[in-house]
């Protein structure tokens, strides 16, 4: 079989979803008569969905271990509420309030993790309880009311842009353009370096032209994106945070011992334990990690709405879980990638966004998203059973 054929087959799941995303975006570009790719819309797409993507990253780690966390929406709301009370009622500084919020998130995660990892209570039940508990705390703390407004610097976290917004080349923001070029150069260097390393150890590499084509596509995509941002207000701060989290978590899952232990635990807990993986500790820490990411998401939601509300974050857990599964994670654990999850999250986000622009009613949007989720998982099963029968 040709190299490309084999490559495609081995990665059909990953590429399939990227192609689907590109296809959906193209489709909406036509049906929305060009609104989809307007700089403002692309920027909004990122701003509106950043917190779900951040939650999805944490959720992915949990799903890889074979667990689930239903409490993330409530925890996000709770952290938002606590920081609002601290900042608005007690005049605490933004930095301190945020740090306390993140600490609370970690403690909530540790609370869940303790029951799940050490007392072996099923994650579904523990986090279902957590969902109710922290929603209740949120409502009690806010007494059913909305707490606002926040300081400008806190809002900037969720809705602000990188400095030098007015430094422009024509109508384009120079910082965004420069960032795009810089990132694509670094990425190309990293990919070529890893190719060299592989060759050094005499491992099979794909033909050079294919790697170069891949790099070219990725570079084009990055620069297209930064071009879009440059056409509006420049790079959103939240995008920088999101990209940093994606890079960090991709590295952790693929290149570190901790990451390998997470996958092994999800693939076969007993075998992992007998191979020296401290399975209880790994489980505990993925929930602590989820708590921290929930807290960050909660702060961003509050900043974006410029208010802490009792209903904030409702249903976030389902969006995050959906992103993981559309992105190729396995319900039985052991399988899933950060980048796949982000693509999955964007598939849902683009669907939301495109349908809203087209004026599709919210009720129908829900159903269509449901069908997409079902379709993606069916596709997953289909490709898996096909590759197994070979």
């Amino acid at each position: 079989m040709s190299v490309i054929g084999r490559l495609f087959k081995n990665n059909i799941r990953q590429y399939g979803m990227v192609i689907a995303l590109a296809f959906i975006m193209g489709l909406f570009q036509i049906t929305t008569e060009g609104i989809m790719f307007k700089p403002m819309n692309v920027t909004n797409l990122v701003l509106q969905n950043s917190y779900v993507l951040i939650l999805a990253i944490g959720m992915l780690l949990i799903i890889i271990t074979g667990g689930i966390d239903l409490s993330v929406g409530s925890v996000a709301a709770f952290v938002g509420a606590v920081s609002a009370v601290l900042m608005v009622d007690h005049n605490m500084s933004v930095m301190n309030a945020m740090l306390i919020g993140i600490l609370i998130g970690a403690l909530v995660g540790a609370f869940h993790g303790y029951f799940i990892a050490f007392l072996r209570i099923p994650a579904f039940i523990v986090t279902l309880a957590g969902m109710l508990i922290f929603r209740g705390f949120t409502m009690a703390m806010l007494q059913g009311q909305t707490k606002a407004p926040f300081a400008k610097s806190f809002q900037a976290l969720a809705a602000g842009y990188l400095p030098f917004m007015d430094l422009r080349w024509g109508s384009l923001n120079v910082i965004a353009l420069a960032a795009g070029v810089l990132v694509s150069i670094i990425l190309a260097a990293v990919m070529l370096h890893s190719r060299r390393t592989k060759r050094k150890y005499h491992f099979e590499v794909v033909p050079l032209w294919l790697d170069i084509a891949k790099i070219a596509v990725i570079m084009a995509a990055i620069n297209l994106l930064t071009y879009e941002f440059a056409g509006y207000n420049g790079l959103p701060i939240i995008l920088v945070i999101l990209v940093a989290l994606i890079l960090i978590y991709t590295f952790v899952t693929e290149r570190t011992i901790a990451g390998r232990h997470i996958y092994a635990l999800g693939g076969n807990e007993k075998a992992a334990r007998l191979s020296g993986v401290k399975t209880d500790m790994v489980k505990f820490w993925v929930y602590v990690n989820m708590g921290v990411l929930s807290a960050i998401a909660g702060l961003i939601v509050a900043g974006r709405l410029n208010a802490a509300t009792p209903k904030a974050g409702t249903g976030f857990e389902l969006d995050a879980i959906g992103a993981c599964f559309i992105g190729g994670a396995s319900t039985s654990g052991g399988i899933g990638t950060v980048i796949g999850t982000i693509v999955g999250g964007f598939v849902m986000a683009v669907l939301n966004n495109g349908m809203s622009i087209m004026g599709v009613s919210v009720d129908w949007q829900q159903s269509i998203k449901g069908f997409v989720l079902l379709g993606a998982v069916c596709f997953d099963f289909y490709t898996k059973s096909r590759s197994q029968s070979k």
Binding site: T197, K198, K200, Y201, F203, E204, R255, T256, I257, A258, R260, H261, Y263, A264, G267, N268, K270, A271, A272, R273, L274, S275, G276, V277, K278, S330, G334, I335, Q388, S389, K390
Partner: protein, 518 residues
């Protein structure tokens, strides 16, 4: 005898060919089974035995293969397993298909319920189940849950279930793989009894002594082809010939020779006692003391349930049991093995008897399975060095001759023997001084077994020590320098190479049992 000669043959499969995406799993296989015989089917793993039986039972529907299947004199075109069961062909798979939370009676009539208009007649179900249990010689209440009876008894329930379906041709895939000697012999007697009552059996097994004992003829399959069919009416079939036909070469010696240079004591366990994880008053291991010397293979013999696996796992990072007491010394110094990591760090490794559930992460590739217990060795700090990892895994793959498309292959798709080599590689990479091997050759074919023995000898020649747990006595006798016999959680005897015979091992067990009962 109406029908004359035609009815002497119950089943004839002719010229069966089955391909899986270009690979011929079966290539023109013909199999003839006479009425009222026990026909043994042998071959290495992956030879095509299971594929052939899946065609016979309709798992692979008619049209999926070429060739013809004649049963009771008429050609069959089974579309599913239901079609073949209707005609009295029942297959019992190696992994039993019983529901643990249902009763024996419910399991026997599962999918075949005694019911009127969709409502189950419980009186009839239980009383008929009782009759069937009596037939297979199982003295259990039909209302007991499957989860509460042992594997040996479960196997009998499966046969009762087949009888409930009015079985005429019973196919058993490795029925005795998980049974001890006593249970196995009981099961084989039952097959002989059923034969008298008109049930023909096809028996797939790796255990040649069992085949020699009960089968009337033996068909040997290799690489999807029938090599030969031997007659065993006189029970005098040549076992060496079977082995030769199976592997396609002569295995001169089933156990490779080694020069032993046994050194000083490296591991010493003193007065090791462990309690059951759930019933905390029950001693599973009682005051066991043993020692292992450098460059020595020490065997642990015993019946199933004697506590050998429990002993090994409790030493290996307290992976089994509660309230551990006793002391472990390595090179004369006491060591603490409170966790698996501590054991690995102290140079002790444990290869599980259950590679699928406890040994491998089946959905991951060869590379990450091999490196899992040695990640710090291929990492700088917390970051894995992929180049080093690939190198280490490839080196192991080549050294152990793991047959795979590359270290990227998912281990689930490897054969049993190669999977076992992956688990073994994982532990060898961790560079242990003492390697505990628990049933290292279970469920793998003759050729792969030999390779595992060769690996054991190589490790010994490198100065490592091995504790070998095995239920196959010839394996223990062939490989070990010294054997400890375990009975009911205690050491009931220690035999050196000269005194190690099957009889002596059984003596140790029987004397000890008598001793504890008096």
């Amino acid at each position: 005898m109406e029908g004359g000669g035609k009815l002497d043959t119950i089943l004839e499969m002719r010229n069966i060919t089955k391909t899986f995406t270009g690979v011929k799993a079966l290539d023109g296989v013909s199999l003839k089974v006479s009425r009222d015989e026990i026909h043994a089917l042998v071959g290495e793993n992956g030879a095509g035995k299971s594929t052939l039986m899946k065609i016979l039972s309709g798992v692979y529907p008619h049209g999926d293969y070429s060739g013809s299947v004649d049963y009771e004199g008429s050609e069959c075109a089974f579309k599913s397993i239901l079609d073949s069961e209707k005609l009295g062909i029942v297959i019992i798979h190696q992994e039993l298909a019983l529901i643990p939370y249902l009763s024996i009676a419910e399991n026997i009539f599962l999918g075949n319920e005694r019911a009127k208009g969709g409502v189950i007649d419980w009186h009839r179900t239980v009383s008929m189940a009782g009759e069937l249990l009596a037939k297979v010689g199982l003295d259990e209440n039909p209302n007991s849950l499957i989860m509460n009876i042992g594997v040996g008894k479960q196997q009998l329930v499966e046969i009762a279930k087949a009888l409930a379906k009015k079985v005429k041709l019973l196919i058993l895939d490795e029925p005795t793989a998980a049974l001890n000697d006593e249970e196995s012999s009981k099961l084989l007697d039952l097959l002989l009894e059923l034969k008298k009552q008109g049930v023909t059996s096809i028996l797939i097994s790796h255990k040649l002594n069992e085949i020699a004992r009960v089968s009337d003829s033996v068909t040997i399959i290799r690489d999807g082809k029938v090599i030969e069919t031997l007659d065993n009416a006189t029970r005098k079939v040549d076992q060496d010939r079977i082995v030769k036909s199976m592997v396609g070469r002569e295995i001169v010696d089933r156990f490779p020779k080694r020069d032993s240079h046994i050194g000083e004591v490296i591991l010493k366990v003193e007065d090791w006692t462990v309690y059951h994880p759930l019933y905390e008053d029950r001693k599973v291991i009682n005051g066991v003391s043993l020692n292992v010397r450098r460059g020595e293979v020490v065997g642990l013999a015993g019946l199933m349930g004697a506590g050998r696996t429990e002993l090994a796992m409790s030493i290996f990072g307290r992976s089994y049991g509660k309230r551990h007491s006793g002391r472990v010394f390595k090179d004369g110094k006491e060591i603490q093995l409170h966790s698996v990591t501590a054991s690995i760090d102290n140079g002790i490794a444990y290869l599980t008897e259950d590679r699928k559930n406890y040994g491998l992460v089946l959905i991951e590739d060869v590379r990450s399975n091999i490196s899992l217990a040695s990640l710090p060795k291929v990492s700088a700090g917390q970051v894995i060095n992929q180049g080093k990892e690939n190198q280490a895994a490839t080196a192991m793959q080549q050294q152990m001759r793991i047959r795979c498309t590359g270290i990227d292959q998912i281990v689930e798709s490897l054969s049993g023997g190669n999977q076992q080599k992956v688990v073994l590689s994982k532990w060898i990479l961790s560079e242990p001084d003492i390697l505990i091997l628990d049933e290292p050759t279970r469920g793998i074919d003759v050729g792969a077994k030999y390779e595992i023995y060769t690996i054991i000898n190589r490790l010994i020649s490198e100065g490592k020590s091995i504790i070998l747990i095995s239920s196959e006595m010839p394996e223990l006798l062939g490989m070990c320098d010294r054997i400890y016999v375990m009975t009911e959680g205690e050491i009931s005897g220690e035999l050196d190479r000269e005194h190690a015979t099957q009889e002596n091992i059984m003596h140790c067990i029987m004397n000890h049992q008598r001793g504890t009962k008096e």
